[in-house]
Amino acid sequence: MADNGLLESVLRLVEKVDGGTDSQDVAADLGVDHQVIVGAVKSLQALGEVISAEQKSSRHWELTGEGREIAEQGSHEARVFNAIPDEGLPQNQLMKMPSGKVGFSKAMSNKWIRLDKAHEGGPRVFKTVEAIEDTVRDKLQLVQKGQSAKLEDKEKNELKKLQCYWTVKSYWITKGSSFSTTITKQETELTPEMIASGSWKEKKFKPYNFEAMGVAPDCGHLHPLMKVRTQFRQIFLEMGFTEMPTNNFIESSFWNFDSLFQPQQHPARDQHDTFFISDPALAHEFPQDYLERVKKVHSEGGYGSQGYKYDWKIEEAQKNLLRTHTTAVSARMLYKLAQQKFTPVKYFSIDRVFRNETLDATHLAEFHQIEGVVADYGLTLGNLMGILHQFFTKLGITKLRFKPAYNPYTEPSMEVFSYHEGLKKWVEVGNSGVFRPEMLLPMGLPEGVSVIAWGLSLERPTMIKYGINNIRELVGHKVNLQMVYDSPICRLDS
């Protein structure tokens, strides 16, 4: 902060003029740098309505480094001229001067000098006139003094290289409503002493700057993915869904594929699509009678199905893998359910799955799958659509439509599309279907029970919600912590 002496000097100057004064003039009058006056103006503003200051900017011509040099030492051509004695100077010697090259050609075209190429001992330069007038220097000196207004535009143009515009921000200072030429010190904060003594009544308080940001609280920040996950969990819980235990990333092909009636030659079971485990390579324990029923329905059919009619191999089912979907967990849960007296269930899970996919801005080899499953007698395709409608309404998505699709373990299968108001088109938001009888009946679920299910990824809605374009900024160690610090709470329905 500027000292009170300076502040009061400024105030006295302001007092003298009606209608205000420019901070640059104040600087000139007080003989201090303009920036010091700018500081003083800010200090005075902080004192309340002592002055009012309006920022304005004005353009000035200023000299460049070269321009300043010319203003002081003369133009290049003048320096060349002055360097030549009456008996002339060898050209090569002249060219060695700092101004040599530019000055020589300029002086030549001004006809101040001449070159005698035939001179013995090499080309020599002679003066042709007695004295010269260095107009370039004169003009630049005008600019330097701030009197560039005296120059014509044409002249300014000629000197373009040697000067430049300079924008100066200054203040137009006028008296404020509580103008005074003396400075009273303002209190910054109310203290216990002031309250006790009542001295606050006489004090002036420095106004707060309500434009400034507050102090950031010392707090933790949750990752956006976790925030969105919490919201989805909340929605499922509100709808009466029970969370499935999904803490088994390593799964056998049996539960991941075979139990879902996904044939062993299915492309998803390829090395290109799935990560297999080399250690422990094989699962060693299966419910034996259920396994036999799965084998039969694949290889021969049954339960009203033709089956896939191929040679089902236990070796293929034993292969361990990183689960490719949480539906493997749903299969385990439904099998477990089938081993007891049937009661209707609604299950959900949100957890990691792994796929050997081509990595790009929106795909990683692992992501979170959100899955909902309902098992009850007599569920219809209309029920599945109804429940999807409720689920997505809670996400703030109300316009839905359904496209027939194919999935090895659901029939019917439907892709869920929602109308995107921004893109003005229908975009896929999830997948759904009714589990096939070939999956449910071998588990031992009663004949009339239908199981409807749907799934979507957690990353996609999170990226849309938080405007993230590259999944690597969201997931993995390349996450941008600033984004984590700054991202707001997640409200999916707004």
Binding site: N247, Q265, I277, P280, N356, G382, P404, E411, I452, H477
Partner: protein
Amino acid sequence: MPTVSVKRDLLFEALGQKYTDEEFDELCFEFGLELDEITSEKEILIREQGGEKAEGASDVVLYKIDVPANRYDLLCLEGLVRGLQVFKEKLEAPRYKRVSPADGGEPQRLVITEETASVRPHAVAAVLRNITFTQERYESFIELQEKLHQNICRKRTLVAIGTHDLDTISGPFTYTAKPPGEIRFKPLSQSREYTAAELMSLYKTDSHLRHYLHIIENEPLYPIIYDSNGIVLSMPPIINGDHSKISLNTKNIFIECTATDLTKAKITLDMVVTMFSVYCDEPFTVEEAEVVYPDGRLSVYPELAYRTETLSGDFINKRVGINESAESIAQLLTRMCLRSEVSGEGDLIQVEIPPTRADVIHACDIMEDAAIAYGFNNIVRSTPRTYTVANQCSEEDIADKLRKNITETRAVHISNPKTADFQVARTSLLPGLLKTIAANRKMPLPLKLFEISDVVLKDETKDVGARNNRRLCAVYYNKSPGFEVIHGLLDRVMQLLDVKPGRNQGYHIQAAEDSTFFPGRCAEIFSCGKSIGHLGVLHPDVISRFELTMPCSAIDIDIEPFL
């Protein structure tokens, strides 16, 4: 999902109607297809190889249509048009018929020898008589085989198709297997004869064929088909012979499919003949061929089997959630190429599944087709009355998880990792947090990060031999190590979990050695007398290995005992 590329104008001509892109997109959506892209050969070339290469390429509009992976009957223009025309009730689904050779002639015969058993034991065959190709039909015929090869044939591993100009060869044909050195013929688009061994090395650099070599490469015998004069028809699943190659002028086609999966071979053959018999003089008829197995069994192909399923209108109504009469359901199904009739007994419907619809294997598939024809988006959306009480996940079997010393556990290894960074499933959360700090070094200090997540450990007691373990890991990264900060975090976490400080029932820490931590700055954490993890100041070597420069303290604990 396979993508079929068709010329738009050709498609509309065949459909007998012009659509706008939007209208056609809508029709696709309703039918379960997806109009993926509208483009042209020129556009594709420009995108893939730059403008110069595209000079003079065709700018005929192409529709790229995504077809469900189980609908092999929609993989070519002919099939798509047939499916859509029947769906729009502009055409009745044709009946495909297997016929004997005209004039009482002998059917073509393919004899399988026992040598094939070890490499590719199955084969089926059929004949298309008096077919008329045009340039477009011919291209579509080739393209369909390629699409089938990529999909149902699983890149020729399960089935390989060979098509031959029957007038250039004479049966009976022999499907056998021979050592590669003994096979010698002129393959398609080559100018001279090669031995099979030479061909395998020739095709090593062929961008298309090299992907199929592995199927037989290491077999002692290669599959091979000869005609009665010893002319090679094909060496499945790699290449056909040049002698019998088909052309625009071919009238009679001999089709063979060799396979490791007989069911898929039959379906593949049915697809090829049902799709292209439309261009035979007598449309939708296919001439039979006999296949003789090594044991003398004789089968006649193509099967072109029609199967009838009986189901009730009530079943469809109840599963879909609609209320339609049996008659109208039969009509819906007929629109999906499943010719259906009300049987007269109650609301029973007789549904005939044609050979083109191998995807229909259960009543639920029929139910789906009824729903598609009804229109998914016409179905009333209703809430199921399923009463349930929600529960959050609590892991019940905590006791048996409390057991083993963490340090004894071994990592689970991935056999086909994507990158060197992902060869094992993680056993600790710490490296992830340290890498995150390394990637965020520009952020103001201190950096305080935590993660609560699963790691994977080997565990013999589990059916798959591994289990997840829920961990909490936190790091404090600043100019001073901040052990007290991390220690304070432990105290706070324990306070929230209602575990009191103490040696027996509570938690305590005691000095320990761990190579991750700086000597003398590491403690083991015990809860109820059992070790649950460590906390301490990280070893400078660890800090530098993660390209970090500041001191760092960390805590890493198993939180399953508290769940």
